[in-house]
């Protein structure tokens, strides 16, 4: 990959007195899908939150699409085109599907080289996720886990992101929906959108990712192509859920 969308260097983060991340460095190229792998508590979510500006205590350099975003407010980072899909979904339960989508709305945007990023509308998203299309007026609090997972992805897409931080999208949802999410990722990749995906096991990551980073106890243990990781049983045994 020639153009870097995201470059993270020496990222450290803490909750209170507990340091969680130690000198994380990673890169995501344009149109690339990169998996951030590790077991429960390895620090995947914390890494994403720190990139998104959601960790109050973090240091290091984060460059997104040519902008230094370390220390910036989450809304400023989001407005540069970084999308965040949280693992706990954080759907607004009082708001309907359409209203949830509206909260995520941002103007169309371009990559720094002037190429237009894909533009998402409610219609497109409801077509992409037909389950949501069937319940546009249902409050978010009265949807199944899988439907909420689709909604949270769709809500982030409403911001027309250049890169998406996708935190464990396959966790606890039915196989059909996992498949739908995998297809979406592939579609997004085709449209030039980059994705940093967190995952615990290789099976889903293998379907969609180009490269992988492996985390353990807040430190980077391994990185390489997804194919290499899929073949490397030792690394998988040591750091992942097999």
């Amino acid at each position: 990959m020639s153009t870097q969308m995201l470059t993270v260097e020496k990222l450290c983060a803490s909750y209170g007195a507990a340091q969680i991340l130690y000198d994380i460095g990673l890169e995501v190229g344009r149109g690339e899908v990169v998996a951030l792998m590790g077991r429960n508590g390895a620090g995947k979510t914390t890494t994403m939150k720190a990139v998104m500006g959601l960790m109050t205590q973090s240091t290091g350099s984060i460059v997104f699409d040519g902008h230094d975003v370390s220390g910036r407010q989450p809304y400023e980072i989001a407005r540069l085109g970084l999308g965040f899909v949280p693992e706990d979904r954080r759907i607004f339960s009082d708001l309907t599907v359409l209203e949830n989508l509206d909260i995520g709305r941002q103007p169309p945007r371009k990559f720094s080289d002037g190429v237009a990023a894909p533009v998402w509308t409610e219609q497109k998203l409801l077509a992409l996720f037909p389950n949501l299309g069937e319940m546009p007026h249902r409050p978010g609090g009265r949807m199944s886990g899988g439907e909420q997972q689709m909604l949270t992805i769709a809500r982030t897409l409403m911001g027309n992101p250049l890169l998406i931080l996708l935190d464990e999208p396959s966790e606890g949802v039915a196989p059909v929906i996992v498949e739908m999410i995998a297809n979406t990722i592939v579609e997004l990749k085709k449209a030039g959108v980059s994705i940093l995906l967190s995952e615990q096991n290789v099976h889903f990551a293998e379907l969609v990712s180009d490269r992988a980073y492996v985390l353990e106890k807040g430190q980077l243990r391994w990185n390489g192509t997804m194919a290499e990781l899929a073949d490397n049983i030792d690394i998988q045994r040591a750091y992942l859920t097999v």
Binding site: P86, F92, L95, E99, D102, I103, Q106
Partner: protein
């Protein structure tokens, strides 16, 4: 009671409900989005009454009145936006209690600003042009303006509902009420949202105030009266729920109307004047709702705001240096009557300061280590003070007996109220404790035959051997020192550790076998008991006690003292109480506008020392140490 009178009062209640709703709904919306309890909301309402009065009288006519109402709402809305941008925006990351303190400082500032601009007299506005008549209802006259007000409430409710669902700003507000961090991560600038919601809430309060000028005069006591009512409505209706705010406003207004309609009822053995029970009834309703539905009628549990504050430092046993420092202070205090022989006033102030220390230290005990933010500590002060004073009044009890009774009376109150309070947490606990304190206050105020009502109890002077000022000073010093010492002992005993464990992680504490509720209940009782001593001493120090001295402002004074000193140090409340008492005393004597000055000082302190005075200094030293 006759039925007609009741129906008439019920209709009347509906028109009061509208005003109550307007101010409460703004408070509720602001809390929902920003999680700030804006104590200054009643002040915005009060400013609304004054501004509308001025416009209506200066401009005159229908334009002056009706145009004035619209103009007032806009002006107060702008004021709300300014408050948010200049003050609150700087303290969103400060602990919740600091935000309360800051908005309380605004109450003081606005009250004096109104005094300065409009003077101390009540100002009665003109009657509403076009709505000066009245209709006949059940043999009584009901002003048409009241009917107009009855319609205003539901109309505003409907408009707000539409705005919240049909506009993007409204949708953002609803989303932010649930999870404002996520709203930010989706690219929404929270600062704009917060300013907007503050402006909206302030505008509604200003509108509510402006609409009142045709019914009631503008007065300087409106701010705290209205905020008290508004809290009750918001808590009963459920924080953040606008329909809940309306339902609760109607409920509260109707309960009051019912009390007035009932009037004096003869129960055979005794008679009760219900029309004097409106305050008790109001807070009783709130207490019942909080106990049975802790999140209000239509509210739901608020997602905890993800903590952004730095972790709390654990309490540390006193170092040798602290102990020596404490002893030096104690010696100076003991020598005080000798040092201050020339100025007898020093001892008067000294007694005030010592009582304040005891009051603040007992409040700190449950607030800091206990994590229970009581907004009604005045209740136990009042129970102690009245317990002692009434014994003197009715049984001519000697001071020793009366002073011994003070903590016992307070202890009983604290055991009763605490049992309910520890079942709640956060803002809800704060509001329930406030409700209990208001019940005590209202009972004292309205039960004239026993307590002397607003005149209070007079002639409570110390008896031998403590009649002389220095002797009473030593007694106060001894009791204050004992109280502070006892609190320290409790905190570093297993009980104190259990109490803090219960504060920091109730679930884990329960898991290791601690009965967190019971421990916090006991702590509440201990704090009440010690506070009762302060109340008893106060009665004897002043020679009298009146409802005014145990009103909500005393609870707030206590909060200010504790927060000034800082929550997480044991010397905090002592320093905070001393600074506050001396400041209040010297400021009060030097200017008519002491409230504004005090408010200004509090604002400066909040902005400069978000960890309290002692906490701030401790941090400064820690940084020095780390640097060297």
């Amino acid at each position: 009671m006759n039925l007609n009178a009741f129906v008439f009062q019920a209709v009347n209640g509906l028109s009061s409900a509208s005003g109550l709703f307007l101010v409460a709904v703004g408070l509720s919306l602001i809390f929902g989005v920003t999680r700030i309890v804006n104590i200054a909301h009643g002040s915005l309402y009060m400013l609304g009454t004054y501004i509308a009065y001025s416009v209506a009288t200066k401009l005159g006519g229908a334009l002056g009145f009706w145009g004035g109402i619209v103009l007032t709402a806009i002006l107060v809305g702008i004021l709300g936006a300014i408050i948010e941008v200049l003050l609150l925006r700087r303290i969103y990351r400060a602990p919740e209690l600091f935000q309360l303190l800051a908005t309380f400082a605004l109450v003081l500032v606005f009250n004096d600003a109104a005094l300065w601009i409009w003077g101390p007299e009540d100002l009665l506005g003109p009657r509403a042009p076009g709505l000066t008549g009245s209709i006949e209802l059940l043999g009584r006259r009901l002003p048409t303006y009241d009917i107009f007000l009855i319609v205003v409430g539901p109309a505003v409710l409907l408009l707000l509902h539409m705005a919240l669902s049909k506009t993007r700003f409204g949708r953002l507000m609803r989303a932010a009420t649930q999870d404002r961090e996520m709203v930010g991560a989706l690219g929404v600038n929270q600062a704009m949202l917060f300013t907007g919601v503050f402006a909206l809430g302030a505008m509604l309060a200003g509108l509510g105030g402006a609409l009142q000028i045709a019914r009631e005069p503008a007065t300087l006591t409106t701010d705290l009266n209205v905020i008290g009512d508004a809290f009750v409505v918001v808590v009963v209706g459920g924080m953040g729920s606008i329909t809940g705010a309306y339902v609760a406003a109607v409920l509260i207004a109707e309960v009051k109307a019912l009390c007035i309609a009932l009037g004096i009822v003869d129960f055979g053995l005794f008679t009760v004047n219900f029309s004097k029970m409106t305050l008790v009834a109001e807070f009783l309703v709130m207490a019942i709702v909080l106990i049975t539905r802790p999140y209000g009628l239509l509210g739901r549990e608020q997602g905890a705001v993800r903590s952004v504050a730095e972790p709390e430092e654990p309490l540390r046993p006193a170092t040798t240096a602290t102990k020596i420092g404490g002893l030096i202070v104690l010696f100076v205090l003991i020598a005080m009557p000798l040092i201050a022989q020339g100025s007898p006033y020093t001892l008067v102030l000294g007694i005030d300061v010592l009582i304040a220390i005891l009051f603040a230290a007992s409040l700190h005990f449950i607030m800091g280590p206990g994590g229970m933010h009581s907004f009604g500590h005045a209740a136990y002060f009042g129970l102690g003070a009245y317990g002692a004073a009434l014994l003197v009044k009715w049984f001519a009890a000697p001071m020793g007996v009366a002073l011994a009774a003070a903590p016992l009376v307070a202890l009983m109150g604290a055991l009763l109220f605490g049992w309910f309070a520890v079942r709640l947490s956060g803002v809800y606990l704060a509001m329930l404790t406030l409700a209990f304190a208001q019940i005590v206050w209202a009972a004292v105020f309205q039960w004239e035959t026993l307590t002397g009502g607003s005149n209070g109890v007079l002639g409570v002077w110390p008896s031998a051997p403590f009649e002389s000022r220095p002797a009473f000073y030593y007694l106060t010093l001894a009791l204050a020192a004992l109280g502070v010492f006892l609190i320290r002992r409790f905190l570093f005993a297993p009980f104190g550790y259990a109490m803090r464990a219960g504060r920091d992680s109730p679930l884990r504490a329960e898991a290791i076998g601690l009965d967190v509720k019971r421990i916090h209940w006991l702590a509440f009782a201990i704090a009440g008991c010690i506070c009762g001593v302060a109340g008893g001493l106060f009665a004897f120090a002043k020679g009298s006690i009146s409802p005014e001295t145990i009103a909500v402002s005393r609870s707030i004074d206590g909060l200010v003292m504790v927060l000034l000193g800082g929550l997480q140090t044991l010397s905090g409340p002592i320093v905070g109480a001393s600074v506050f008492a001396v400041l209040q005393d010297s400021v009060m004597r030097s200017t008519e506008y002491w409230r504004a000055l005090l408010g200004g000082v509090i604002l400066l302190l909040v902005l400069a020392f978000p960890a309290g005075i002692v906490g701030g200094l401790a941090k400064l030293f820690a940084r020095r140490k780390a640097a060297s």
